[in-house]
């Protein structure tokens, strides 16, 4: 009987553990990033935890196309046109945001502007 109840407890415990794993401490984290003539004014990275909802709010004094690698999100930003990237930070890693020269097909001839760093819990 003891062994059975023990087994039940352990089953319940592992079920609780399994249930707990996908429940990230899901918060929403918002970052305002301002671009002045194609460079970031202020911190050049944002650090979040896996599971967070991340909102990157872009402002720029020049029209640009921005690309968040890995999550593969692209947005257009311009002087009168602030832009927003919203991602569910599912994958961990350090993801660069690069500027695509508008017009040039596949152009990537710039070093990353910004990094989104997603750390595991």
């Amino acid at each position: 009987m003891i062994s059975l109840s023990r087994r039940l407890v352990s089953v319940a415990a592992s079920a609780a553990l399994l249930a707990a794993v996908p429940c990230y401490s899901a918060g929403t984290k918002t970052f305002d990033v301002e671009l002045v003539s194609g460079a970031v004014a202020g911190p050049k990275s944002a650090r979040v935890t896996q599971g967070d909802t991340v909102i990157l709010r872009w402002k720029s004094d020049k029209p640009l196309e921005l690309h968040l690698h890995g999550y593969d999100v692209t947005t257009q930003v311009g002087p009168a046109k602030p832009a927003e990237m919203k991602v569910q930070a599912r994958a961990t890693g350090r993801f660069p945001v690069e500027m695509h020269a508008t017009g040039a097909r596949g152009g990537h001839a710039h070093k990353p502007l910004f990094h989104l760093e997603v750390y595991p819990e």
């Binding site: 890693g93 152009g107 001839a109």
Partner: protein, 485 residues
């Protein structure tokens, strides 16, 4: 840096722009983007602690004596069935021609496909599947490159055809290969390859990649024509030399009769000192992969800023104070520096053992450093391979980027969450510590074999052990650095 087809104009303005783009090249990596997070302090300390602790444990527990043969020779198990299957003509031909088919596909795609490197199979095939993947297979399984090498298969086929047309005809001039050249041609060609991958930033320009492959093919077939196929493979074909070096570690090998299974690393214990050019292969493998990690560290950034800052003080020398000059110098310095430190350790070993010369000692022990290089390759490339290697899935359905969908996988998007940061950290630390343990264990067996038992042998091992601990710490330090672009 993913540029379509850059046109270089020799105007001042474009030179300035070119110089401004140079830092981006430092992150180029042949092709694709890395998403590594730096190793956290806890992992670094655990790895460093385990390295030091296990080094002392190994010194204490490894057998110091016994019949030299017991310590030096590794057990082997013959695999007659597998040998029969793999040496079957049909199977061998199929593997060889599979290599040729992929080789042709890569060249055709590089020359005629879409110039976007993410839409063209050639970049993923060359930098991920072939260079990183072949290295893993040759290291952890066995020498696949020896049988799939398309340059070898094509030249051998041409030789066969020549014989058919005219019995006894030779395709090669069979000039005697100058013995003093050893395998230096392969070492130099490999340095050029690594420079293109790590420094040039041109690896993802698909048209240039096609041109590089054709140029290398001409060099290889030229060498085979001049000196004979087998001779050039062993001395001048950079990838045969490098991949067979990795395969010395592999569990699958060949004895005179069959394929054999042996403990990993067994092929690194040599009964004769290796040549200096063979030693150079190990030092270059250590140096280049370490350099590749080093150029993403803040230390490199600071060095780069200082160096390019000098150009402002002396504008006339702006051409000297740029990224390429500094990167190339440091790239070449790394293997030389490792060689110098290694030789100094060997001098100390000679002083303590009173046997052999420093040169002989170095050429006996140099291969035992390879597991440390392999470990760092795993730490550096495994996650990159698993994430960016996924580009092969859509590329196989649409190799030229023409919008085909041969296998229905053209719309597959690589999953960057396939493995996460935690996986990367654990595999890196486990690989680096395991590589260190294997290296120490091999160096110990080499020392027992060369110096016999006793206190002298024990003391003579210490300089090399210190070097290995130092190198392992350097590997851990590099992956723990905050990455910069």
């Amino acid at each position: 840096m993913r540029s379509g087809r850059p046109t270089h104009r020799a105007s001042v303005a474009s030179f300035a722009l070119f110089a401004a783009l140079c830092p981006a090249a430092s992150h180029a990596h042949g092709f694709a983007v890395r998403y590594d997070l730096p190793l956290p302090l806890g992992f670094f300390l655990a790895g460093a602690g385990a390295t030091v602790l296990l080094s002392f444990v190994l010194l204490a527990v490894l057998p110091r004596q016994g019949a030299a043969g017991d310590v030096f020779l590794s057990p082997e198990r013959e695999l007659p069935t597998l040998s029969r299957v793999l040496s079957n003509n049909l199977v061998a031909e199929a593997i060889g021609w599979l290599g040729v088919g992929l080789f042709m596909l890569v060249i055709a795609a590089a020359l005629f496909g879409d110039t976007n490197p993410f839409k063209n199979i050639s970049t993923t095939m060359v930098w991920l599947i072939w260079w990183v993947g072949m290295m893993f297979i040759n290291t952890f399984i066995g020498d696949l490159w020896a049988v799939i090498n398309p340059w070898n298969t094509l030249f051998a086929a041409a030789e066969g055809l020549a014989r058919k047309l005219k019995p006894g005809a030779r395709l090669s001039l069979d000039r005697p290969y100058p013995a003093r050249l050893e395998i230096w041609p392969a070492v130099i060609l490999f340095l050029v390859f690594a420079w293109i991958e790590i420094i040039s930033g041109e690896g993802e320009d698909v048209r240039k990649l096609g041109a590089f492959i054709i140029a290398y093919s001409l060099i290889t077939w030229g060498g085979m024509w001049l000196f004979g196929r087998e001779i050039w493979l062993r001395h001048g074909e950079a990838f045969t030399v490098v991949f067979s070096m990795f395969a010395r570690f592999a569990p699958l090998a060949r004895n005179t009769r069959f394929l054999v299974l042996r403990p990993p690393g067994a092929g690194l214990l040599v009964s004769e000192p290796v040549s200096w050019s063979t030693a150079a292969v190990v030092l270059v493998l250590l140096g280049t992969v370490t350099f590749d990690g080093f150029i993403a560290t803040p230390t490199w950034s600071a060095l780069y800023e200082t160096y390019t800052g000098l150009a402002k003080a002396r504008p006339a020398l702006a051409g000297v104070f740029n990224f390429y000059v500094l990167a190339t110098a440091v790239f070449l310095l790394f293997p030389v520096l490792f060689g110098g430190v290694f030789l100094a350790c060997c001098r100390a070993t000679v002083a303590l053992s009173g046997r052999l010369t420093a040169s002989e000692t170095a050429r006996y022990f140099v291969l035992t450093l390879l597991p440390i290089a392999i470990a760092y390759h795993v730490a550096h490339y495994l996650v990159f391979f698993l994430l960016s290697g996924q580009y092969i899935v859509p590329a196989l359905s649409d190799p030229f980027g023409y919008g085909w969908d041969l296998f229905g996988t053209a719309s597959y998007k690589p999953d960057v969450g396939l493995v996460g940061a935690r996986f990367a950290w654990y595999t890196s630390v486990v690989a680096i510590v395991t590589g260190h343990v294997i290296a120490v264990q091999l160096a110990h067996r080499m020392a027992v074999h060369l110096f016999g038992d006793g206190k002298r042998m024990f003391a003579s091992e210490l300089p090399l052990l210190a070097l290995m601990v130092g190198y392992t710490m350097l590997s851990l330090w590099i992956i723990a650095q905050p990455t910069v672009s």
